[in-house]
C-alpha cells in the first residue's frame, strides 16, 4: 500500500480526484448562482425550498433527479459515439484545469506551452458536441452540432489571436509565467510600485475579443445557437437524458469555470492581487476573479437575445479576426518600441 501511495500513479490519482471534486463542486455552485441570479433579474426568487434555506441544495437535488432518470438511447443512434460524446465534453473541459495556476505552487502541471495546451484542450469539448449532434439521429441535434462546429471554427481563431497579445507581453507561453509577469510592477509612481493586470496594460481589446470568443466557445447567450431551445428544441442535447444529460450540463458549467480561470490568469492577473500573499490567498483571489467573469456571463445570458448563425459568422470574420490582428500588431509595436 505505502509503495502505491508513494508512487507517481497514486499522486496522479489523488490529484485527479481532488481536481474533479473541486471542479464539479464549483460547477454546482455556478449552476446555483445562475438559478438564483437569473431569478432575481426577473423579479423571481428561484429555488427556495430545497435544502431548507434559499434552496441551496437545488443543483444537488436536480443531479439526483437526473441520475434516477432512464438513460435513453435513440434506436437509430450511433450508440458508441452517442454514449461517448458526453464523456468527451466533460473530459475535454476538465483537462483544461491541468494548467490553471491557483497559486504559485498549486498547479497540476505547469507546462511550458500552457496557453497552447489550454486552447487545444478547450476545443475538445466542441468535438464532443459535434459527436453528440451527429450520433443522435435527430435533425435538430444534427443542426445543433453543425452550428457548434461552425461556431468553433469561427471563434477559435480570434480566441487564439487575442491571447497572442498577452503572450507577446509576457514573453512566455506558461500560464504561471504569464501570471508572474503580471505580478511584476508595471511602473513606479514615486515610491509605490503600481501593479496592473494585462487588461489594464493595453489589452482591453484583447480581453474583449477573448471574452466574446469565450462566450461563443461555451455556447452562452448571445451565442447559444447550438442549443437555441426556441429553434432547435435543445440542439445537440435533444436526445440526451439522465446521467448523460447531466454530464453535458456539468460540462457546460465546468467549462465556464475553466474558461473564466484562463481568462483571469491571462488578463486579470490570475491568483495575484497587490498586497495579498499569493501563496495563501492565491486560490481565493483567483476564484473571486472567476466569480466576477461568471457573473458577467450569467448577466449577459439573462439580458440579451441570441444572434443568428450567419450573423455570428460575419461578426467573427469581419470584426473579431481583423481586430485581434490589429491588437497583435499594436501590442508588438509597443513591445518593440518600449
Amino acid at each position: 500500500m505505502s509503495a502505491l501511495f508513494d508512487g507517481f500513479w497514486a499522486l496522479l490519482g489523488l490529484k485527479v480526484l481532488v481536481s474533479l471534486l473541486v471542479i464539479l463542486n464549483v460547477a454546482l455552485v455556478i449552476i446555483f448562482a445562475e438559478l438564483k441570479i437569473s431569478a432575481h433579474m426577473q423579479s423571481r426568487v428561484g429555488p427556495y425550498f430545497a435544502g431548507g434555506r434559499y434552496g441551496w441544495a437545488q443543483p444537488i437535488a436536480d443531479g439526483i433527479k437526473f441520475i434516477q432518470k432512464e438513460d435513453l438511447v435513440p434506436r437509430d443512434a450511433d450508440r458508441p459515439v452517442f454514449k461517448l460524446a458526453p464523456m468527451v465534453v466533460l473530459a475535454g473541459t476538465v483537462a483544461v484545469f491541468v494548467i490553471v495556476p491557483f497559486s504559485p505552487t498549486l498547479v497540476v502541471r505547469n507546462l511550458d506551452l500552457g496557453v497552447f495546451y489550454a486552447l487545444a484542450a478547450g476545443s475538445i469539448a466542441t468535438v464532443g458536441v459535434l459527436m453528440a449532434g451527429w450520433s443522435s439521429a435527430n435533425k435538430y441535434s444534427l443542426m445543433g452540432g453543425l452550428r457548434a462546429a461552425a461556431q468553433l471554427i469561427a471563434y477559435e481563431l480570434p480566441l487564439v489571436l487575442a491571447v497572442v497579445g498577452v503572450v507577446i507581453h509576457a514573453g512566455t507561453l506558461s500560464m504561471s509565467g504569464i501570471v508572474e509577469a503580471q505580478a511584476e510592477p508595471f511602473f513606479h509612481l514615486g515610491e509605490t510600485a503600481i501593479h496592473l493586470p494585462y487588461l489594464f496594460q493595453g489589452q482591453v481589446i484583447g480581453f474583449g475579443i477573448f471574452f466574446i470568443a469565450m462566450l461563443a466557445e461555451l455556447s452562452r447567450t448571445p451565442f447559444d445557437m447550438p442549443i437555441a431551445e426556441s429553434e432547435l428544441v435543445m440542439g445537440y442535447l435533444t436526445e440526451y437524458s439522465g446521467i448523460r444529460f447531466t454530464m453535458f450540463f456539468l460540462g457546460e458549467y465546468a467549462g465556464m469555470f475553466a474558461m473564466s480561470a484562463i481568462a483571469s490568469s491571462l488578463f486579470l492577473g490570475g491568483y495575484y492581487f497587490p498586497g495579498l500573499d499569493s501563496a495563501t490567498f492565491g486560490p481565493i483571489v483567483l476564484m473571486a476573479k472567476v466569480g466576477l467573469l461568471v457573473f458577467v456571463m450569467i448577466w449577459f445570458r439573462w439580458t440579451f437575445p441570441r444572434f443568428r448563425e450567419d450573423q455570428l459568422q460575419s461578426f467573427a470574420w469581419r470584426w473579431m479576426v481583423p481586430l485581434s490582428l490589429v491588437n497583435i500588431a499594436v501590442t508588438a509595436t509597443f513591445k518593440v518600441v518600449f
Binding site: 423579479s43 426556441s230 437575445p305 441570441r306 443568428r308 448563425e309 450573423q311
Partner: protein, 398 residues
Amino acid sequence: MTAVDRHRLSMHHSEVQVSVELQTPDMTLNLGPQHPSTHGVLRLIARVDGEVIEEVEPVIGYMHRGYEKIAEVRTYPQITALVNRIDWVSGFANEIPFMVATERLMGLDVPERAQYIRLILTEMARISSHLVFLSSFPLELGAATPLMHALRERERVLDLIEGVTGGRFHPNFNRVGGVKPAAGAGSTQKKVIQDLPIEFLEQSRQAMQYVRDVCDDLKDLVVGNEIFMERTKGIGIIPVDKALAFGVSGPNLRASGVPFDIRKTDDYLPYSNFEFDVATGENGDCFDRYTVRLEEVIQASRIIDQAIDSIPSGELQAKVPRIFKVPQGEIYVRAENPKGEMGYYIVSEGGRGPYRLKIRSASFSNLSVLPWLLQGQLVPDVIAILGSLDFVLGDVDR
C-alpha cells in the same frame, strides 16, 4: 421561380458555383406540433436546404374544437361562454363583436355605462394580450428576461379584469344588452348587480402607470438592443398588397404601414369619444410588428385613462328577457381585437341559438400568409417571423 432559384439569384456568382457543387438532397424538417416555439400545436412541414427553407406547409387543426358547429346547438348566452375561449389571451375582447352583433339583430340599445365598462375591459384585454406578445417574442430570440418583466405587470391587469368579471382569462361578463346583470331573481344579498368593484378605477389608473413603466423597460431591454434589431430588422417583410390579399389585419397590417384600425372606422364601442393614435410601422418587418404593439399598449392605457375619467353612471343592462329569441336576420360585426379583425357573421332564423355562426378570427388569416412569407428564410428567422405574427392556436383553429 422556386425559392431555391430566388435564393440563388440573390447570391454572388462564386457562391452559386459552390452551392451547385455541394448540391445535397433536401431535408424535411418537422417543426411541431410539439416544438417550443409553435405556441401550442402548430406544425410546419418545412423542406430545408441546410438552414434555408425552400417550402413550408403549415398544418393546423390540432386544436380544432368545432365552435361553429357547437354554436348551432347552443343558445346565445351559452355561446358567450364559448367565444372567450377562441383567443384565450384576450378572452374579453372576443365577446364584444358577438354581443354587438346579437344586440343589433335584436335592436337593443346598450346603456352607456355598460359600453364604457366593455371598452375599458377590452383595452385591458388588449394590454394583457400585447404584453404576452411583447414578452414572449424576445423569448423566441433567446432573451428570457423580458418575459418575466412584462408578465409581472400583466398580472396587475389580469387582477383588475378578474376583480370585475370573476375570471382572469375567460370573463364571460358580457350579456346580451349590457354587462353581467343581477344574477337570478332571488333576494339574497350575495348576488348583487355586478357593477365595478370599489376602487377599481383608482387601481386601474395605477396599473396603467405600471404598464407604461414596463413599456419603457421593454424599450430599454428589447427595442434598443442591437442584437434584437439585428435579428428583426428587415426580417419577414409583409408588403401591403400581400397583407391585404391574405386578410392580414391588426398590428401585423399596421406594421406594414396601413393605418387601418377598426376602432376608428366602425362604431361597435364608443371609441370616438376618446383620443388615441393608430400606431403604424414603416417596413412591415418583425421589428415594426414589435414596436407597433408596444405603442398600442401605451395608446390603450391612454384610452383607459380617459375612459376612467369620463365613465358615466347609470344602468348596466337593457331590458332583455331571461329566455329570448333573436329575430330573423343576418349580420356581420367585426371588432379590432388585439390580434386583428375578429368578426362574427350570425345567421339567425329566429331561434334561441343562431342558425349558422361564422367566426372570422384574426390569427387564422394572419397565419395563412406563412407559406408565402417563409419561403427562402432561414430556420432561426422562421422562429422570429412566427413569433412576430402573434397568433394563438385557439384563434386559428377555433
